[in-house]
Symmetry: C2
Subunit: 345 residues, 2 copies
Amino acid sequence: MIDSVKYENGKLYIIDQTKLPTILEVLEIDDIKDCWDAIKQLKVRGAPAIGIAAAYGVVLGTRNADESSFEGFYTEFKKASEYLASSRPTAVNLFWALERMDRTVLENKALAVKEIKELLEKEAILIHEEDAETCRRIGENGLEVLKDGMTVLTHCNAGRLATAKYGTALAPIYVGKERGINIKVFADETRPLLQGARLTAFELQEAGVDVTLITDNMAAMVMSKGWIDAVIVGCDRVAANGDTANKIGTYGVALLAKAHNIPFYIAGPLSTIDLNTLTGKDIPIEEREPSEIINGFGKQTAPTDIKVFNPAFDVTPNELITGIITEKGIARPPYNVSLKELFDK
Amino acid sequence: MIDSVKYENGKLYIIDQTKLPTILEVLEIDDIKDCWDAIKQLKVRGAPAIGIAAAYGVVLGTRNADESSFEGFYTEFKKASEYLASSRPTAVNLFWALERMDRTVLENKALAVKEIKELLEKEAILIHEEDAETCRRIGENGLEVLKDGMTVLTHCNAGRLATAKYGTALAPIYVGKERGINIKVFADETRPLLQGARLTAFELQEAGVDVTLITDNMAAMVMSKGWIDAVIVGCDRVAANGDTANKIGTYGVALLAKAHNIPFYIAGPLSTIDLNTLTGKDIPIEEREPSEIINGFGKQTAPTDIKVFNPAFDVTPNELITGIITEKGIARPPYNVSLKELFDK
């Protein structure tokens, strides 16, 4: 499978995820504006992939920056960074990646700007490479709570398309498959943008995983039939107390899992855990255009001018979360203790 | 607003609900095959409207039947009735209407077949007229649990398009509006066929009701914000113990309502309550084509040949239901007592 994000010869290549599953198109990006558009329009999406793309976006946006003085360069750098930060407010990996790039600049301010630029490119590549390794470890840790033959329900797409490799929520499925541990998946289609139908179903089918597609409102019935052993979803931001922002609908799935005594896991890298955000109430929730619901797929499916509420994310309170699977292990309640411990590991 | 079902000069006219909200097309039907197709393909849908259409379908299907002997006629009548019964398995109103038609035939077997045919037409018209009155009473009874300024969440369409008039779940909204009691509505879009987006949003907007459209997976978040005072949905079949089959997703909404301490009501005519069905386990659940999920919006949104689970209904267990609003009053738990009492009223 082609990588969701690739960097080669100074250019960024991303799979245009808005066109999947019918069209597999790779966009060539060598300009920060196109990178911003790609993030904003969800051509690249998934918290880790957004972070990777933004890091490369900084490289593209500062490549031609003034090299005569550090101050001049840093002004241009900050402008590029702030521009990219404005693309999507909820996923913390975006800000995490931009901060790593900022640190790289500040820690090397004594060097020539030309050298700083080279270090920025190296840092972006490092963020990218680390993510693949992080996801593999999330997969290994996730396998602690899964067994061969189990069935997992997932929401949205936290698979390889959302990351450098393996994904987060789907990492245990992929790593398991490499080891002969077969886990079946039910994928919520995930309205309005159908990441589950378009992306999760696509990538799991392509990998030969047994995947069944349902609409979001079928999850409760599927659970009541006893078909689901665990729910695993990704995350866009985990607060210090474990409250987790993820794709709209996640909170509902967590409530349904609780009602059916099914364990509910969040999977994500430490870069998605934001100890500076104390609780879910402090996470800004992006609201998107009504057209995604009224006219989502080139066909009008609701009256013109109908009032619409279209939040892109919701927050699942920590008490509904059985565990948070990270590259350093699985955090368990109380999260305000266990999450900090993971960072100190 | 045009009636969802109309019968005039021996012809059946139905709004093709598959084309709403963008195209308002009225189909002229004078043939039982077209009536079967209209029910099967959800051109006419909603349990009460299906019952009405099926009653007229019997009239159309027996109009040219043999008049030389009762036995010959009754054979043709049964064939027509069984054919219509095969269109959709879950909604009990279909069978209820066909039984009323059967009773009309058997109670008048001494008459000339020509006269029986006239009585069948009268009975179908009566079923139709009674439904409008029934819905008005459901609306009045529903207002007992609502107050001016409240907000209701509903799922699928149990409005005037699903019935002769007023609807069932939406009847309190319409009857309330006539009386100056304004109730706001959140409408789940209701995948896969989007009856909430296409029909509920459409008919409420047309009637001047304050309606907000959400995707199914936003219901939990909307409830958590404290925006919802009550959930009211329709029903396709209520078992003797109160277990209720309704559009897929209803069970999930009921669980979410319980988690947020929001009362959850079913609204429907007594004809939807089937005391011969003891519990929800005895209700057959229709499964529909994968194409509704893969290709639902006229555009392919999931991989070709992806495995799909597509039940049209789910069953909400009685313990999640605060009350069942009927034309004879609101049944409360325990339903195996209260539902029987309503029939005896």
